[in-house]
C-alpha cells in the first residue's frame, strides 16, 4: 500500500508522490476561496406558493380519470380488436367498476381537501402580511412618538430654563436686612414717619402689615393696641420681628393673601412694597387686597415719591430690588378703577432744611421760583396712599 497523508492507493504501480505534487500545484489557484466549506445555509422546508398553486392546478386537471376511454383501433383486424376490447371491458366492469367509482370519489375529495388547504394557506398568508404591515406601522408610530416625546422634553426643559431666567432676571441675592439697616434709616425715624398713618387704623381689630420688614409698623400697632400680624418673605426680617414678639408669617405676600379668607382684614398696610412689583404683580395684589378687605376696611401703601427728582438718584437707584416707582396720581386712578373709595395721598419725608436755598434770595421773585424748583428737585421723599373698600 502506498500511503500519503492525503491520498493513498492499494495499487503498486501508481506514483502517489507525483500525484500529490500535482495536487498541491493545482490547489494554489483555489487558495482563499472557502465558499465550498460554507456551512451557514439557512435551510427550512419552504412552501413555495407558486409550486403549490401549479400542483393544485395539475390535480384539478387529472383527478377525474376517464372511465370510458375511447377504444383506439388501428391496423389490421380493427373491427375484431375493437370487439374483443369491448367484450373484455364489459366482462371486467362488474369487478372494476365499483372500485373505480370509489377511487374517483376519493380523488375528488382529496382534490377538494387540498384546494381548501391551499385557500386557507393563502388566507393565512394574507392575514400574516396584514399583521406584518400593522406591526410595521405600529413600530413607525412608536418611533415617531418617541421623537415627539424627545422634542417635547427638550422644549419643556428649554421653557423651564427660559422661565427661570425670566423669573430670576431681577433677582439679586444679598443681605437685605443689613442693607436696610444701613440705608433705610434709623428705625425711630421710620416709626416717627409711620406714626401719622396710625390714625387711619384707629379701631381696627384685624390688621396685616404686608412686607413688614424689621417690624417698625408692627411696633406702632402694638403701641396703639391695634391687633396686627406681619408677613415677609425674608427670613432674617421675620426672625427680627419674632424676636420683638410680633406674629409674623414667613411667606410671599401674594401667596399669603391667596390663602386668606375673603373680607378677613379690616386694615392692610404695605410699607415700601409696591415699588418692588411688576405691573402684573401690582394688579394682582390690588385685586387680592380688595377681595380680602372687609367693607370699610382701610389700606395704606407707602412708596417713594417719583414726583421728586432726587428720589431717583437716591432711594430708587439705591435699592437694586426696586422695579418701578409708582406715580401717586396713577395709583389713585387705578385704585379708583378697582373699586376703592376715599382715596387720599399723604406726602412725607420732606427735604432736610440744609438743602433749602430759596430763603437765601432776597428777591421774592427768584425766591418764589427757587421754591418751585426745590419742590421738584427736593420734594417729599415718600408718599402714602390711603384707600377704603
Amino acid at each position: 500500500m502506498k500511503e500519503n497523508e492525503f491520498v493513498q492507493t492499494n495499487a503498486l504501480n501508481i506514483d502517489i508522490r507525483d500525484i500529490m505534487k500535482q495536487i498541491e500545484a493545482l490547489a494554489i489557484s483555489m487558495e482563499g476561496d472557502e465558499k465550498g466549506y460554507t456551512n451557514n445555509i439557512n435551510w427550512s422546508v419552504e412552501i413555495d406558493n407558486d409550486t403549490l398553486v401549479r400542483n393544485t392546478q395539475i390535480l384539478h386537471r387529472i383527478w377525474d380519470i376517464p372511465f370510458n376511454r375511447p377504444i383506439l383501433h388501428q391496423g389490421k383486424f380493427t373491427i375484431i380488436k375493437y370487439f374483443i376490447k369491448r367484450v373484455i371491458r364489459k366482462m371486467v366492469f362488474w369487478y372494476v367498476g365499483p372500485s373505480f367509482v370509489q377511487q374517483r370519489e376519493f380523488n375528488a375529495h382529496i382534490v377538494r381537501t387540498i384546494e381548501s388547504m391551499v385557500q386557507t394557506l393563502e388566507h393565512q398568508g394574507d392575514l400574516l402580511r396584514n399583521t406584518e404591515l400593522m406591526f410595521e406601522n405600529v413600530n413607525k408610530l412608536i418611533s415617531q412618538n418617541q421623537l415627539v416625546n424627545e422634542s417635547l422634553k427638550k422644549l419643556n426643559s428649554d421653557l423651564e430654563t427660559r422661565v427661570f431666567n425670566l423669573e430670576s432676571a431681577n433677582n439679586i441675592n444679598f443681605d437685605y436686612l443689613g442693607f436696610e439697616e444701613r440705608y433705610r434709616g434709623a428705625q425711630e425715624h421710620i416709626t416717627q414717619k409711620q406714626r401719622q398713618y396710625i390714625q387711619y387704623f384707629d379701631g381696627k381689630t384685624n390688621v396685616v402689615d404686608l412686607g413688614c420688614g424689621r417690624g417698625e409698623m408692627l411696633d406702632l400697632f402694638r403701641e396703639y393696641a391695634i391687633a396686627a400680624i406681619g408677613v415677609d418673605s425674608n427670613k432674617t426680617m421675620v426672625d427680627t420681628c419674632r424676636k420683638k414678639g410680633h406674629r409674623v408669617y414667613e411667606t410671599d405676600i401674594l401667596n399669603f393673601l391667596e390663602n386668606s379668607q375673603d373680607e378677613h382684614f379690616d386694615g392692610i398696610y404695605l410699607g415700601q412694597v409696591i415699588e418692588h412689583l411688576t405691573n402684573n404683580q401690582l394688579e394682582y395684589l390690588l385685586r387680592l387686597i380688595f377681595k380680602k378687605l372687609k367693607l370699610q376696611g382701610v389700606m395704606i401703601m407707602e412708596t417713594p415719591n417719583p414726583q421728586t427728582l432726587s428720589v431717583f438718584s437716591q432711594a430708587y437707584l439705591l435699592d437694586p430690588t426696586h422695579v418701578v416707582l409708582r406715580h401717586p396720581l396713577t395709583m389713585e386712578y387705578i385704585l379708583e378703577d378697582y373699586g376703592f373709595k376715599d382715596i387720599k395721598i399723604i406726602y412725607s419725608s420732606p427735604m432736610p432744611a440744609e438743602y433749602k436755598v430759596s430763603h437765601l434770595f432776597a428777591d421774592p421773585q427768584i425766591s418764589e421760583r427757587m421754591n418751585k424748583w426745590e419742590a421738584i428737585l427736593f420734594g417729599n421723599q415718600d408718599y402714602a396712599i390711603v384707600a377704603t373698600k
Partner: protein, 360 residues
C-alpha cells in the same frame, strides 16, 4: 447434489428479510442467492415483511410461509424488523445470518425520525440476536469487525457480488473518449447523510469553478424518506452556484449501466459503508474511482482506485482533475479494476456455493 443436502434429506432454504425492493443492495443479494439456488434446483423461498409490488413473484409474505421439517434459514440483517424476526425465532432448523451493516443512527437524527428509530432499534436487535444463529456471515471485514464488537464470534466473510457483474462490459477506446467528452462525476447510492452527498457538492464546486465549467455531477439513488435532505442538498447546490447537478433518483438498470459507462469519474465521499456495491459496479464498468477512505471502502475498492484520507475539497477537486486528464493513470486504474473484479469478486469467491458449503 448430495453436496447441498444435509444427510439424506432434501433441504429447503428460506431467506428472511424485512423489506424486499428493487435496486436495493440487500434485496439484490437475496435475489441473487435465490437465482443461484434455483439454478441448482434447490427448493427455496424469500419471505419478507414488505414486498415491492414489482417483486411479488420472487417473494412471499410471512403468512404464506408453511413450516417444513429441516428448513434452513438465512436471515439478512440491515435494519430492524419485527414480524420477520419473530418468525426467525420460531425456526428450529439451522439459522444463518448475513450481516449487511447498520448505519449509525446519528446520521439520521436531523433528517428522518423514522430511520433514526429504525437504526437505533436495529442496533438493539442485533445485540439481542447473538447466540441465535448457527452461522454468521459478513460481506466485508469491516462488517465482521462490527459483529465482533456486538459480541458475535466465528464470523465468516463472503463478499457480495452485484448482479451487474454478470453483465458484459465493453470498455473500448470509443467509450473512454465518450467518458472524457462528458466530464461527468458520478455517485451511486441512496441520498442519505451517511453517504455524504453534501461533500460531493462541495468538491464539485471547486472542480467546476476552477477546472471544468462544463462538467456535471450526477447522483443516482433513491431519496425516498429523505425528501427534506434532498431539498437541503438542492439549496446547497444553488448556494454554491453549481450547474449541471442532477439528482436522478432511482433509475432502471439499463440507465444505471449507461451512467456507469458514460461517467468520467466515480467519486464516493460516503462516510459509512458496510460494503460499497456501487464501488464494485463502477470497477466492473472500468470507471476510475476516487473514494473517501471510510468503512469498508478500502477493502472493497482494493487496488481499483484512489483513496482519500482527508475531506480537503480543494485537493479532492485537484485530484479529480488529474484523474480526468491523466490517461495513463486512468488506464492503470482500469487495468487494476479488471484484476480486482476478476480475482477478488470472482463467482467462486462470492458465490452462494460458499454459503452452502458453510451450511452443509
Amino acid at each position: 447434489m448430495a453436496y447441498y443436502l444435509r444427510g439424506e434429506t432434501a433441504v429447503r432454504l428460506i431467506q428472511l428479510l424485512p423489506t424486499i425492493s428493487k435496486n436495493d443492495a440487500v434485496s439484490n443479494h437475496a435475489l441473487m442467492i435465490k437465482n443461484e439456488l434455483d439454478d441448482l434446483a434447490i427448493e427455496n423461498e424469500i419471505i419478507a415483511e414488505n414486498i415491492d409490488p414489482a417483486l411479488y413473484r420472487e417473494a412471499k409474505e410471512i403468512k404464506e410461509y408453511k413450516k417444513k421439517q429441516g428448513d434452513i434459514c438465512i436471515y439478512h440483517f440491515s435494519i430492524v424488523s419485527h414480524h420477520v424476526f419473530e418468525l426467525l425465532q420460531q425456526f428450529d432448523g439451522v439459522k444463518m445470518m448475513i450481516y449487511h451493516n447498520i448505519t449509525p443512527p446519528e446520521y439520521f437524527k436531523k433528517w428522518s425520525g423514522t430511520l433514526y428509530q429504525a437504526t437505533s432499534q436495529a442496533l438493539k436487535q442485533i445485540r439481542s440476536a447473538k447466540g441465535l444463529f448457527d452461522l454468521v456471515v459478513a460481506d466485508s471485514n469491516f462488517n465482521r469487525d462490527d459483529l465482533l464488537s456486538y459480541g458475535f464470534d466465528n464470523v465468516h466473510v463472503i463478499p457480495l457480488r452485484s448482479p451487474l457483474l454478470n453483465l458484459q462490459n465493453r470498455n473500448s477506446d470509443h467509450l473512454e473518449k465518450n467518458r472524457k467528452k462528458n466530464n461527468t462525476i458520478l455517485f451511486v447510492g441512496r441520498i442519505a447523510p451517511n453517504k455524504n452527498p453534501e461533500s460531493l457538492l462541495r468538491v464539485f464546486y471547486y472542480y467546476q469553478k476552477y477546472f471544468f465549467p462544463d462538467s456535471s455531477l450526477e447522483l443516482i439513488g433513491s431519496y425516498h424518506g429523505m425528501e427534506d435532505y434532498l431539498e437541503y442538498l438542492k439549496l446547497l447546490s444553488r448556494h454554491l452556484g453549481l450547474e449541471n447537478v442532477a439528482f436522478r433518483g432511482m433509475i432502471n438498470t439499463n440507465d444505471l449501466i449507461k451512467a456507469y459507462q458514460s461517467a468520467t469519474i466515480f467519486l464516493s465521499m460516503s462516510e459509512h459503508e458496510g460494503f460499497g456495491v456501487p464501488i464494485q459496479e463502477a470497477m466492473h464498468f472500468r470507471l476510475p474511482i476516487l473514494a473517501l477512505n471510510a468503512g469498508a471502502i478500502s477493502e472493497t475498492l482494493h487496488t481499483g482506485g484512489l483513496l482519500i484520507n482527508e475531506k480537503n475539497y480543494k485537493y479532492i477537486a485537484a485530484l479529480a482533475n488529474i484523474l480526468y486528464k491523466n490517461d495513463e493513470l486512468r488506464k492503470v486504474i482500469q487495468e487494476q479494476q479488471k484484476l480486482v473484479i476478476h480475482d477478488k469478486y470472482s463467482i467462486e469467491n462470492t458465490s452462494v456455493k460458499r454459503i452452502l458449503e458453510l451450511l452443509s
